[in-house]
């Protein structure tokens, strides 16, 4: 239609050219318009699609992210029964911004001193006038203090909530659980060993379950604490361990501290005697020497006889006994009366090379293999390890190990001779039992049962017996090394026990550092008088909790050892007569 009609009169060529130009321009304009429209429509369509998409799949405005599960700021720590041992709470923190204070500073300082008397009004006033921007006044403040401070109405005072670590059982198991520093980082114990697990947002939602049983821990701490106070000891340590899995059910070190306020109290109380401290634990070592000797074929059995003079001269030294036999005695008697002389001969026959190999196999020459970072390095004679040192190690002197290590040794010996590293975590599907490794033969393990039961039935450990629970074990009284000399009066006494001896399930190791004699002990400071009763009382308390039923009629097979002892008794009696 718009096409130019043929004119009657031929237009001038310029005009024709003009028409062609116009048409061209119009076409361009159309194209541009169309393009603009398309862009616009595309934008609209884009927005519309986005709206539709959001309507179909998007979130609504009030959506709260990350609240679908409660994740504490630091993971909880539970005991094996699910009781919280460490948890995180929101605590109030009171702080002050002196530059923002608008009221009368002197009056404010006086009021603060009334509410929080840990500082004087002068100190508060000095803070307010210091010109510094910020001070903490109190962390983990009690609600009534917070309310009182809030009532002051001073904008310069800041009240904030801050996650804080709380240990509901206070000092219970303090050395195992440890504590956190002011920034919430683990500084000791489990808090330190599992810092990454407890702090990592991916794992901290799931509590860390320890092998500790708080009831067993409480029983051990209560009984050990009583004994420590009663005998005026400077320290104590105790371990209860599952023989079959290596789980530590209770572990304590005394004096203890309150992890809620680790800064208060004696810093020395933070020292974990059970894992970090190494002690010469004396005669509690003898069962190991005997087991090594039996496994190596040096000792044939409980009936083998040794010559036990009153004093044994050896390698330029003299070995003494507290209960000298002065005659031939059997291996069973050597254990029963804890004879150094008999054990020294056994160790001598075993020899240094074999002894060292055995100790290494048992893990007594390295740091104890457990999760805690506080682990002491055992002390050995080292380069001085000669034949006489072999003898002294045989009866427990000259080698120092941690009490946890001693418990581990007993667990190995009575778990059919199989070693499991001690663990502080509960053995469950998340933390399965590791494959153990054999140290002693099954037969040796079995024969040691009646020997150690004998010690408690008739020997030095009578006071450790808990009727019905078949406790077996060994006392240990070691002279303490003071200024390079063994003191004749200051001891470390220990007892390592196993129960029930007819089917060993639990090990208990108890140690007192420098106990003093009392009237009831008739002046003695030996283990049979002070730590053995602790074991008896503790076992009576914890065995029922652990599912060990008392039975007065069950015993290990005592016929293996009794024949070699009763003769001796008769002899003794006749000689006395």
């Amino acid at each position: 239609m718009n096409a130019p009609q043929p004119a009657l009169v031929a237009p001038r060529p310029e005009r024709l050219r003009l028409v062609g130009q116009r048409r061209q321009m119009l076409a361009v304009m159309h194209q541009r318009l169309m393009f603009g429209m398309l862009v616009y429509a595309g934008l609209v369509a884009l927005i519309a699609l986005r709206i539709l998409y959001l309507a179909a799949f998007g979130d609504h405005a009030g959506r709260k992210e990350g609240l679908t599960a409660f994740v504490p700021d630091r993971g909880d720590v539970f005991d094996r029964d699910g009781q919280p041992l460490a948890t995180t709470i929101d605590a109030w923190t009171i702080s002050i911004h002196p530059t923002k204070v608008i009221g009368d500073k002197l009056a404010l300082a006086q009021k603060l001193a009334q509410i929080m008397p840990e500082r004087t009004a002068e100190q508060y006033f000095a803070m307010l006038r210091s010109g510094r921007p910020f001070f903490f006044l109190r962390r983990r403040a009690a609600p009534d203090v917070v309310a009182a401070v809030n009532a002051l109405g001073e904008p310069g005072l800041a009240l904030e909530r801050e996650p804080d670590r709380l240990y509901p059982q206070t000092s219970l198991g303090a050395h195992v659980i440890g504590f956190t520093d002011i920034d919430g980082k683990g500084a000791a114990g489990v808090e330190r060993a599992f810092q990454t697990y407890l702090a990592d947002p991916r794992t901290r939602g799931k509590p860390l379950v320890l092998s500790i049983s708080s009831r067993v821990q409480q029983a051990l701490e209560a009984e050990l604490g009583d004994a420590m106070q009663h005998f005026s000891a400077i320290g104590a340590a105790g371990v209860v361990m599952d023989v079959h899995t290596g789980e530590v059910l209770a572990m304590t070190s005394m004096p203890t501290f309150n992890p809620n306020a680790p800064g208060q109290g004696d810093p020395a109380s933070h020292f974990n005697r059970a894992t970090l401290g190494v002690f010469e634990l004396g005669s509690t070592f003898k069962p190991f020497t005997l087991a090594m000797s039996m496994d190596s074929g040096v000792v044939s059995g409980p009936g083998q006889m040794y010559n036990c003079p009153d004093v044994l001269p050896a390698y330029g030294h003299l070995v003494h006994d507290t209960h000298p036999f002065g005659r031939q005695c059997s291996v069973a008697e050597i254990m029963m009366e804890s004879s150094n002389i008999g054990m020294a001969q056994m160790a001598d026959k075993l020899g240094k090379a074999r002894q060292e190999a055995w100790l290494r196999k048992m893990g007594f020459l390295d740091r104890v293999e457990t999760e805690l970072k506080e682990r002491g390095r055992p002390l050995t004679p080292g380069s001085r390890w000669g034949p006489f040192e072999t003898m002294t190690i045989g009866f427990g002197q000259g080698i120092a190990v941690a009490p946890l290590q001693l418990a581990m040794g007993y667990a190995t010996l009575f778990d059919d001779g199989i070693y499991h590293p001690p663990t502080i975590l509960k053995v469950n599907p998340d933390h399965p039992l590791t494959q153990g490794r054999r140290v002693f033969s099954s037969d040796t393990s079995y024969r040691m049962r009646s020997l150690l039961r004998l010690v408690v039935m008739k020997g030095t450990g009578k006071k450790a017996d808990a009727p019905g629970y078949r406790v077996g074990g060994k006392t240990g009284t070691a002279q303490k090394l003071i200024n390079g000399h063994y003191s004749q009066t200051i001891n470390i006494t220990s007892f390592a026990g196993v129960f029930p001896m007819d089917d060993p399930r639990y090990v208990i190791v108890v140690m007192l550092d420098e106990p003093h004699a009392t009237k009831e002990t008739y002046g003695f400071t030996t283990a049979g008088w002070n730590v053995a009763p602790v074991v008896s009382r503790t076992v009576s308390r914890i065995a029922p909790m652990l599912g060990v039923a008392p039975d007065m009629r069950r015993e290990p097979n005592m016929s293996e050892v009794l024949p070699f002892v009763q003769e001796a008794h008769k002899k003794q009696e006749s000689s006395k007569d």
């Binding site: 539709l52 309507a55 179909a56 799949f57 998007g58 979130d59 609504h60 009030g62 959506r63 709260k64 609240l67 679908t68 599960a69 409660f70 504490p72 009781q83 919280p84 948890t87 709470i89 709380l166 509901p168 059982q169 206070t170 000092s171 219970l172 708080s214 009831r215 821990q217 409480q218 701490e221 209560a222 808990a466 009727p467 019905g468 629970y469 009382r537 009576s540 308390r541 029922p544 039923a549 008392p550 039975d551 007065m552």
Partner: protein
């Protein structure tokens, strides 16, 4: 024609309707999800509150605190090995069955009459025929009188008097409630042996309480009782577990209040 020209309009309308329907569905889903999230938020908040409360309870009831109470305040100690039992059978063994002979003790009631004798006043109680009631409580004569008011049997008094000397009567009378004694008499009577005296009348009334099973035994005893030593028997009656019941029934309302 018109339908065809509106066709596109229908298309647009139906598309718009479908889109709107879809949108409504998604809106509905979103709102459901929102309310679900609200619930989840509430759960989380509740969990946090529970944590706070559990922490507080756990801290206040911490084991060292319980230990302090148990060892200090209550003096509790761990159970000894012999305190554990292996089952219900062993537990049952610890309980001694009660001896049936106690019933025979009731028979003793018959003897009770002796005390009654001393107090003729007691007779009234006798009517009630409460054998055991005779818990030897001390009762002044006045009380006895009251009892008598209620009951009618007079024969008893007569016989009691005859049986025992007055002096003795006084002593025993004080306590045991006249009722006791008469009752016993009655029971005694029944056996027939007592025959003492008032059998006929009492027999009927007495029947109720006196042990049925005991009857036979009673027979023997009554004879003795009648002879003399009622007092002894009376004491036994007190001890009897069964005695109190009858006493409450009859004795209390009338005599007992002051005595007990």
């Amino acid at each position: 024609m018109s339908a065809r020209s509106f066709g596109s309009l229908f298309m647009v309308a139906s598309c718009a309707g479908a889109a709107l329907g879809c949108y409504l569905v998604s809106l509905r889903v979103a709102s459901e999800r929102a309310s679900l999230e609200d619930v989840e938020t509430k759960i989380v908040l509740a969990q946090r509150d529970m944590r706070v409360i559990q922490t507080e309870i756990g801290t206040r009831g911490r084991l060292s605190q319980l230990e302090r109470w148990n060892a200090g305040a209550f003096s509790l100690s761990a159970p000894a090995a012999n305190q554990f039992l292996e089952g219900s059978f062993q537990l049952a063994q610890l309980v001694q069955p009660q001896k049936p002979t106690d019933f025979s003790g009731q028979v003793v009631l018959a003897s009770a009459p002796a005390p009654s004798k001393p107090t003729p006043l007691g007779e009234p109680a006798a009517d009630t025929a409460e054998p055991n009631a005779a818990p030897v409580a001390t009762i002044p004569g006045g009380l006895l009188h009251q009892a008598s008011l209620k009951t009618e049997t007079r024969e008893v008094p007569a016989r009691t008097v005859s049986n025992l000397p007055q002096a003795t009567a006084m002593k025993s009378a004080d306590k045991p409630v006249t009722a006791a004694k008469p009752a016993q008499h009655s029971s005694a009577d029944k056996p027939g042996l007592a025959a003492a005296h008032p059998l006929p009348v009492k027999a009927p009334s007495a029947k109720p309480e006196p042990a049925k099973a005991a009857k036979k035994k009673m027979v023997d005893k009554p004879a003795l009782g009648a002879a003399k030593p009622m007092t002894k028997h009376a004491e036994l009656a007190k001890n009897d577990p069964l005695a109190p019941v009858p006493a409450k029934h009859l004795g209390k309302p009338k005599d007992a209040p002051p005595a007990r």
